[in-house]
């Protein structure tokens, strides 16, 4: 009885495999390479722009860092002091907000990855390691139902996404390192 069922199942598997393999292959859309080449070219232009914009952003950050302490020295009202002195309960973790923030970060990283130039070997290894850790957290998230544990995992995920995004913004990309050497290639 079991032999008959096993044989039947093997025959059915073979028939299913044959039927699936016999499905006609689809033609990819026209112009696939041209779109990809345009994407690479756009990414490299963007990298070049970032090489200029990033130092400017860093400079702005330095100015902001110098200005912030001045802001804290501004006069504080009695009401504000009273408010500050009152004990506040620890805020409950807002998993929905963390998740929404994670989605925004993910979109941001995705845009950077899509529009960015290829990473150099060291940055690429870091990016792969970060992506692996994010994947691990995703698996943990799919298995947990505890809000506090979820919130902690979402926070870790967001921190990793931020690091991944900043990695993508680093100016040490292959495109920039080799830009000069590649000026004569067909694409660029």
């Amino acid at each position: 009885m079991h032999d008959r069922l096993d044989r039947q199942r093997m025959n059915e598997d073979a028939a299913l495999a044959a039927a699936l393999r016999a499905l006609p292959a689809a033609d990819p859309p026209d112009g696939g390479w041209q779109r990809l080449a345009a994407r690479i070219a756009h990414a490299r232009r963007r990298r070049t722009w970032l090489r200029v914009a990033l130092p400017a952003a860093l400079a702005a950050g330095v100015v902001l860092a110098a200005w912030l302490p001045q802001l804290h020295r501004a006069p504080v009202s009695v009401h504000a002091l009273t408010q500050r002195a009152a004990p506040h309960p620890a805020p409950a973790p807002d998993v929905a907000a963390l998740r929404a923030h994670s989605q925004r970060l993910q979109d941001w990283v995705r845009t950077l990855a899509r529009d960015g130039a290829p990473l150099d070997d060291a940055a690429l290894a870091d990016a792969v390691a970060l992506q692996d850790r994010i994947g691990l957290i995703d698996l943990q998230l799919s298995a947990t139902h505890d809000p506090a544990a979820s919130a902690a995992l979402w926070q870790q995920r967001n921190a990793l996404l931020q690091r991944l995004g900043l990695l993508r913004l680093q100016p040490s990309t292959v495109a920039m390192q080799t830009r000069g050497a590649r000026k004569g290639t067909m694409l660029l």
Binding site: A15, R21, A22, R35, L36, P118, S142, V174
Partner: protein, 197 residues
């Protein structure tokens, strides 16, 4: 497991060496060589042309970025194919945050004749696209791409039992969809009422 994948193409070492030096002309050569195979795999995994297009391009860009990491332990086509599957899995994870669908039905045996032996390709194609993403992917990777259960488990980051279960339940669901379609040929819209588990 027999390999019938259209990915299984030899790539000349000189092209590979140039790709690893991030030569764009070599990348174009590799892209054109594997575009059709990668497109069809992405289309079968995702069941959607727009998603397949993004998976294809993202995987190919990763191949360009990471070609220097390819060590030749496996054929280049197998390495590239893994990138396509990985890209689709990452996309699935990003979009759903819950990677794997859960079947709630039982795994009862069915002695009736296998309907895929009689279904035409268009009918089988439609039924395949009605399967949950993970089950469809496991069916395709196992039967067409020649993955073993161990390889599928590794790719999905799950156990071998997971792969076997998805294959068995996906096969059963495909059978149900084809039988239903066969019985209701005059009212094909009823297929949609079965939904995904």
């Amino acid at each position: 497991m027999e390999t019938t994948t259209s990915f299984a193409q030899h790539i000349e070492p000189e092209w590979l060496a140039r790709l690893q030096r991030r030569d764009v002309a070599a990348f174009e050569h590799v892209y054109r060589r594997f575009e059709r195979a990668a497109w069809n795999l992405a289309l079968r995994l995702s069941g959607r042309a727009d998603v397949a297009q993004e998976v294809l391009h993202d995987a190919m860009l990763k191949a360009f970025e990471r070609a220097g990491q390819y060590r030749g332990d496996a054929p280049f086509w197998a390495w590239l194919r893994k990138l396509v599957v990985n890209e689709w899995l990452m996309r699935l994870r990003r979009e759903r945050m819950q990677l794997f669908e859960v079947f709630t039905d039982s795994l009862a045996d069915d002695d009736s004749a296998a309907p895929w032996t009689m279904a035409d390709s268009a009918t089988l194609d439609r039924a395949l696209n009605r399967l949950p993403d993970t089950a469809r992917a496991v069916l395709w990777l196992y039967h067409v791409e020649g993955y073993t259960h161990v390889e599928i488990a590794g790719q999905f980051g799950r156990s071998v039992s997971f792969s076997k279960s998805q294959l068995a339940r996906g096969t059963r669901r495909l059978r149900e969809l084809l039988q239903l379609q066969s019985n209701m040929e005059d009212a094909p819209c009823t297929i949609g009422s079965t939904g995904n588990a």
